[in-house]
Symmetry: D2
Subunit: 320 residues, 4 copies
């Protein structure tokens, strides 16, 4: 029997999930909800399901096993709460919120309801990340990591508005923060951050940071710095480097690259997993062990980026 | 008439200066002081001057215009104070001390005495640094910088003992911290740091950090992160990258590399200057404008590294 | 028609509320829930209502307009959530929780449900507090305050266990923290705290602070220090002093005392209000303006004490 | 043979010392230096010695064993340095400086020269302080202290200018900070402070804090809060309370008051010592054990007040 799936937020990253799901024979798309009515209708035409502009109405009228929540960061909250009440499993795109309070409340609903959740930290599922992890797990001690998301300014209008996206480190570099936690194998206990702005003066409503650097101290002692910039042009650096004694492991853009003692080391290739397939399987079987980023885990990544936002403003270190 | 120069600490970096000075026709080496008597004598044989093992005796017995102080970090203090009292100009190797109190006291002697000082931040004099600076000076706003000194463990015995060197960020990466201040054109107002150790367990007396990351907020708003590691093997990264909108300037290892809007930009080559020649000329002419790192300026770099040491321990941000 | 009131936690402070409520002709006590079965039964005998040991059962079986939640600090959460779901108004004793996450989640339920809430910060209702407030409201600027709860160790077993009460500043001095916010008329933006222990070694399970001091910076600029100690014997100091230019207002232990320019100033007496009467009236009329401490307001006081706990541990200032 | 004493700064507190010294038969006043020429001359007429307006000239022309430095806080530095060079012992009024750098440099001169120093923390010499100390020394554990200097605005013009006095906590409350260190028997490791101003708008050039509170964590675990205000009128509180289990010891304004277990406890009276007599005796005998506040010790008190100033500005805790 097919898994019935509803959709909230069908633009942007939502389209990527829809294209994946339509190839799954065991998935039936039963609802397409989008605040843009035309998009809801055209998505419904293309992928199936009834179109909605109001997710409350969608939840009321359509019976579903799972929902994909692919709305912008500021729009989270009520849609997750109702899913929890109705026992609808959720795939949620990152970042999970723009305020810490909101994410704590959603997490409470999730834990209380027992619905299956998977957050869209897809880097974790990549073959390069899995291969890197297998190398790092054999090491005695992970010293630390350097991560980067430095590039140009995305076109999405809400991206550049702090109240709507949280800024680059919350919305985009969150993948690197999350990958860093995953590779280091520990949660953060201390966050320190600095940020600067003022070079991008020609973009309306832009009020986020042009550049930022975030230091993290993990509970297992590992340390990291993660740099973000959206002021670059025609130049980019998006990857994570993990350091052990005599070992540099680079994840991002193919690979991973393993440099041990100055020489490239061959690493056994590991096939990546499809995040949508993993989620649908979990919904079908109720076995969740292959979901790499359930809500409570994603919350730990989100806490780091929220602590960084606070540190940018106050200059103080923030304890988690 | 030749400039009479004495030397305290003739090993290590001292040798490099001696080899440079011996080529200057207007310099006479008049004293070679080293706690290792044999080295003092052999240096005296090779380069001239009377050998000493006690710098107090040297100052008493030999008349000199200038002194090179190339002792290890922990040994600074009295030798600078006596030079100030006697009006002897000083070339001092970095780092200038291992405690903040010591450096404040020396700086007071320096300012009060009016002797000419030059600290061994030689990266500033390089053609690549000068060319990079000429590019950056034309930019409206410098956003920030990423700097690195990641490599292996130096052999010098005192280097690996925190009380003697201050650790890698104080002794070695100080060049990158200093270059960053120079390129950004501002002093630090806030320092945040994290560090980790425990992977280098086979080196006697080793008690410094294996890896560290330091965030800096400068008074002009620019931000930076500078990473250090001495746990690498056969792999290294030692340079500074400065970021403006659409511009990445890399200093270190030739160049500089200028990437503007995704394309390499030609930069007018600038010849480097010899730090020893600049110092000797300043001593001769009393015109100090070409000295790029007088003591009071080097103190600002040293304050950053001392604040970082404090932050490593407490987890707190440190205001300068 | 009488207001139907249930009770959860009938010992300690619960008894005080019961004795007040039994004098109200418009209140009918319909349920007495206590984990101690004998107490539940004897309270039911004395004050009316059905006895319960499980609040879930109570909510299921008894219809009520309002509930008094007088359980120890660590026991909050589920009982508030169910009241919100059922639309039962709540009088809740302080402190409202022992973790920040818990209080954020309860507050979300409260705001979403729209039930009337009143938290047991009874100092606010006193005639001395109201008279003091009327004096302070006429002042141009409130500079700051000094508050104290210094006395002996209460006998309640859970009080001395940090995980159960949060410690003295969270459980007891919270009245002074709350009164300080009320008098200063602003919320905290910064909290700094220090604490010490080790003099009370003869009390089993005791693991809270013997003494603590908490600095607060309020958003309107006012500053305060609030000291707690439970290591005193036969000596106590429990009051709040508020300072303006040339004015000292003392609340606690009768009064208030108004010292202006060195002389006692007469203040117009203001009758206090009964917190239970105010709550019952609000439940009857749905007019909540006389409730001085709704849940969302009490949360702001709780945030200060939680920030203090964090600062005691880390030594850092905490931004709210 | 009489001890030859010079004087720099003969107004204010200087007068108090002069009146004490003139009663000592073994003291000869040999120089009176004051930037106000008339005062220098009239002091010289009254107490003896040659008048000067420039302390450099005084040191050059008059031979002396000891000097009293009673200038305002901002004027310290050169006069101490020259005394050190000439081997002249120093009695120095508090506060010892207005910047930390200045005090570190002076301390270096003092330690290097070996001159005897005594700083004017006269509360330490009082009979009440000595009696309190004898009580506290018998206690197993000192929990903490609360200190106050709350009163009106002193008339001295430089007092109300931050750059000249450092503000109330640096200039005046420094006595309470110092007494707290002395009673607690430990140095500070952490300082947190908040301050507010804006109620004193009618005093020209006034730019200091109207009120402040400073938390201190000492190395032995004891905690303290010390409150200052100069915005009071006709009301004051100037004392220190020290807390142990079941014990409150109050120093200031007679006493000390000892409250043990709720009852006043008699304490053996201890005669106070004259700070000037102690200093002169130390100069004569070179036995310094009775000097209770040599420069290096006073520096530890000064560090606390400087850390407080930093914390007022940044909101951060400061590690010493």
């Amino acid at each position: 029997m097919a898994v019935k799936v509803g959709f909230i937020g069908t633009g942007g990253i939502g389209g990527a999930h829809l294209n994946a799901l339509k190839t799954f024979e065991d998935v039936e798309l039963v609802a397409m909800c989008d605040v843009v009515e035309d998009r809801a209708k055209s998505r419904a035409n293309e992928f199936g399901g009834k179109p909605f502009t109001d997710f409350r109405e969608m939840y009321d009228k359509v019976d579903m096993d799972a929902v994909y929540i692919c709305t912008p960061p500021f729009a989270h909250g009520e849609q997750e709460r109702i899913a929890c009440e109705k026992g609808v499993h959720m795939f949620i795109e990152k970042p999970i919120a723009v305020t810490l309070e909101q994410s704590i409340i959603i997490n409470d609903h999730v834990q209380r309801s027992g619905v299956i959740t998977s957050v869209g930290y897809h880097w974790r599922y990549g073959g390069d990340a899995q291969a890197a992890l297998s190398v790092l797990k054999k090491e005695k001690k992970i010293l630390g990591a350097l991560g980067y998301w430095m590039g140009g300014l995305p076109g999405t209008p809400w991206w550049r508005v702090r109240a709507e996206s949280g800024g680059q480190h919350v919305e985009q570099t969150t993948h690197i923060f999350d990958l860093c936690r995953y590779m280091v194998g520990s949660d953060a206990e201390l966050v320190q951050g600095v940020a600067n702005s003022g070079s991008i003066t020609d973009v309306p409503k832009y009020d986020v940071d042009d550049i930022s650097m975030v230091n993290i101290k993990f509970k297992n002692g590992a340390v990291a710095n993660i740099a973000s910039s959206c002021a670059m042009q025609g130049w980019g650096r998006v990857h994570l480097e993990v350091f052990c004694r005599g070992l540099v492991v680079t994840i991002g853009g193919g690979g991973p690259l393993i440099n041990r003692g100055g020489k490239a080391e061959e690493v056994k290739q590991v096939p990546g997993r499809d995040r949508d397939r993993v989620f649908i399987d979990a919904v079908k079987t109720k076995a969740t062990s292959k979901i790499l980023s359930p809500y409570a885990d994603a919350l730990e990544t989100f806490k780091i980026t929220m602590a960084a936002s606070k540190s940018f403003l106050t200059g103080k270190a923030v304890d988690l």
